[in-house]
């Protein structure tokens, strides 16, 4: 997709902003992503508001080596909620306005201090809940955090390392049980 027709598509969909990024080579995510460059339309928030929301997400759940593309999905979810509900959009705008435009580029300790001050606000609780609900439920997160997910389709972990831990002594049979097929 060229920049020109990307712009046309954005106008057609009524985009209000856009987040873009470049996935770092050699990360688990690079293996999953179809290409290194990504762009994501926003439908309620502006580009700068989107960037501030992303900075809030990164402060709540700071995984330094987890790519912006993973956090962008959280921003997309929050933006989608705001596009559907004017009250949500207002609540977000109020929260973002309170944090100010400098938040996104502030040091981590400054960001933590700013968020600690509004910990009990609906804005913080909403962004925190969305961050927790979205960030860890994607294939990118599974790869990054080392979660192998469902195993039924592969015969279960019975044949995929459920008992391969060797840094502690084995459990006597009397307190456990036989491994099927072993």
């Amino acid at each position: 997709m060229t920049p020109k027709n990307l712009m046309q598509r954005r106008e057609f969909l009524g985009a209000t902003g856009m987040l873009t990024g470049l996935i770092a080579a050699g990360t688990p995510l690079a293996l999953l992503a179809p290409g290194r460059a990504w762009a994501m339309d926003l439908h309620a928030l502006s580009s700068s508001e989107g960037a501030t929301v992303m900075a809030v997400c990164r402060t709540i759940a700071p995984h330094d080596k987890l790519d912006d593309a993973a956090y962008a999905l959280v921003v997309q979810s929050i933006d989608g909620d705001a596009a559907k509900n004017a009250d949500t959009l207002k609540m977000l705008r109020d929260g973002l306005g309170h944090l100010g435009p400098a938040f996104a580029t502030a040091t981590e300790s400054t960001r933590v201090q700013a968020l600690t001050a509004i910990e009990s606000s609906p804005f913080f609780k909403t962004v925190r809940t969305s961050t927790l609900g979205v960030l860890y439920a994607t294939p990118m997160a599974y790869a990054y955090f080392g979660y192998e997910g469902e195993a039924f389709s592969k015969g279960g972990y019975l044949v995929r390392g459920f008992n391969d831990l060797r840094w502690l002594p084995e459990v006597p049979l009397a307190d456990s049980g036989p491994v099927p097929g072993a």
Partner: protein, 523 residues
């Protein structure tokens, strides 16, 4: 499957198809009794269980609104999901973990054993332990429980190896892969456990016992069961003589329907059981059915606990394997020198990655501390504390008329003020779990706060004295002879055991009683 007429006033109507209702339906139908089983949820199967954690949660969970008040941290952390129960055929036996320890003898005599405790509403069970034991034996055989009746235990997972070695190093003696209603080999027409780790999402091999694919199809095979799915009961009706006459429910299209009944058994899980009794108020029973004692909804009990997570610097992969196959039994005793009455189990517990931040960590945790835990997902271990909750008359289910469900009916409000005994027990358990993990090299130990209860109990409890509870020792309500409580609501006190086995045992016992009473034309 039988089609039973809505005008058939000979039918027994059971509301709820989980551990209590599903088991009772099988036990009555196999004795030739016609049963209409009303279930609010849809029917899933081994094939349709979702393997995406968030989708599975949505597929199985009761998501109609509830509210919560009180000083419990659950009110702060989970205001929109104060308890975690199911709405699906099979009820919570679809998402349960399969753990089946027994309630202990002194736990059904807690009032006598612990004495008077300020701010608590303990009573002794009106049942002898020897009688309960008989039904535990039957239930364990039926559910093919590991480590009982000569069945082997489940094998040790990586996760259990961590718990086991830590527990032994701090001196615990009774540590094993738990009593589990999970097949270690094909049995009962069900598959064996392949250590998927997706117990809570619905077990796709059927290794884990559930009424969905044991009791309910067997009841259907008798020709005496009429199962009505996606039908939600809204009211139990009674006649001029004060006996119940039928159940009003909404069909899948949302239309109101009426099923006549000779007997009604309520098995909706404690929160909804109390709500339905309260919603059924009438001129004759202005405080709800079976509530002359004002005990319906009171004494709401969960289990005291939450998670403790041990963080290590070596791989564990705790999500691989049976979720709850590990237990420490040593703290399940009454020893006031520990600073509290009653006892607790430490049970193995893992969470899938999407659920860990939402369900496993307190809402006050974020930033670097929070990220540190998640960054160690590969090398963490978990314990779930399952302790005896101290019942209180003021911890109760009431109707909240300010919030309505999708049919416009008041929702349940859950009020919980944590008793100081719970706080002392939780602190002790957290200290012990921390020591356990540090004994095998944990680099850090963190704990959650109280989590939304999957174990909801005692809101229509059995009592010897009708003033102390709602039902007699058979779950028959003190006030209305043909109205029964057939779920964990009937438990007199919560004990420290995961409740499903006890609910099944009580259902087996209740079925014998109901069948005998029907034969004798007493009801």
């Amino acid at each position: 499957m039988a089609a039973i007429s809505q005008d058939d006033s000979d039918a027994v109507v059971i509301i709820g198809s989980g551990a209590g209702g599903g088991t009772l339906a099988h036990e009555l139908t196999r004795r030739g009794i016609k049963v209409v089983l009303i279930e609010a949820g849809a029917r899933q199967s081994l094939e349709t269980f979702s393997q995406v954690p968030g989708d599975a949660f949505a597929q199985l969970t009761w998501l109609e609104p509830r509210t919560i008040t009180g000083t419990s941290t659950v009110a702060q952390d989970y205001p929109t999901l104060p308890s975690w129960t199911c709405k699906t055929v099979g009820g919570t036996t679809v998402h349960w973990t399969g753990a089946t320890p027994r309630i202990r003898p002194w736990e059904i005599r807690s009032r006598t054993t612990y004495g008077e405790i300020k701010g608590a509403s303990l009573i002794d069970w009106p049942v002898e332990y020897s009688e309960l034991e008989h039904y535990y034996d039957l239930a364990e055989k039926r559910m093919v429980v590991t480590r009982r009746n000569g069945n082997p235990g489940l094998p040790a997972s990586n996760h259990f190896k961590v718990m086991y070695n830590g527990a032994k190093r701090i001196g615990y003696k009774r540590v094993h892969t738990n009593y589990m209603a999970i097949n270690t080999k094909p049995a009962d027409g069900r598959g064996l456990c392949i250590q998927q780790g997706f117990c809570v999402q619905g077990c796709k091999t059927g290794a884990k016992w559930s009424t969905l694919y044991t009791e309910i199809p067997r009841a259907e095979a008798t020709g005496n069961l009429d199962l009505r799915v996606q039908c939600r009961a809204s009211r139990i009706e009674h006649g001029d003589n004060g006996l119940v006459t039928g159940v009003v429910y909404r069909d899948p299209q949302g239309n109101e329907q009426r099923q006549k009944a000779r007997i009604v058994c309520v098995a909706c899980n404690s929160v909804e059981t109390a709500r339905l009794l309260l919603l059924s108020e009438s001129a004759r029973f202005p405080h709800g059915l079976a509530n002359s004692s004002d005990q319906v909804g009171r004494n709401y009990s969960c289990h005291t606990g939450g998670f403790v997570w041990g963080i290590f610097d070596k791989p564990i992969h705790f999500y691989r394997g049976t979720t709850l196959a590990g237990i420490v039994e040593d703290e399940t005793r009454h020893d006031p020198t520990r600073g509290f009455a009653g006892g607790y189990h430490l049970e193995l517990a893992a969470l899938d990655l999407p659920s860990l931040p939402l369900a496993g960590l307190p809402s006050t945790m974020w930033g670097r501390d929070f990220a540190f835990v998640l960054e160690h997902y590969r090398s963490m271990a978990g314990i779930f504390i399952n302790g005896e909750d101290m019942p209180r008359a003021t911890n109760r289910i009431t109707l909240n008329s300010n919030v309505k469900d999708s049919f416009g009916l008041p929702v349940a409000n859950i009020h919980v003020d944590d008793h100081e005994n719970n706080a002392a027990m939780r602190a002790h358990a957290q200290k012990q779990a921390k020591a356990l993990y540090e004994a095998v090299g944990a680099i850090r130990v963190v704990h959650s706060r109280q989590t939304p209860a999957t174990h909801n109990m005692c809101t229509a409890r059995m009592s010897k004295d009708p003033r102390d509870g709602v039902a007699n020792p058979h779950g028959q309500t003190h006030d209305i002879a043909n109205l029964f409580i057939a779920d964990g609501s009937a438990m007199s006190t919560p004990g420290s055991a995961n409740p499903t086995l006890t609910i099944v045992a009580l259902a087996l016992r209740q079925a014998e009683f109901i069948a005998a009473q029907m034969s004798a034309r007493n009801i």
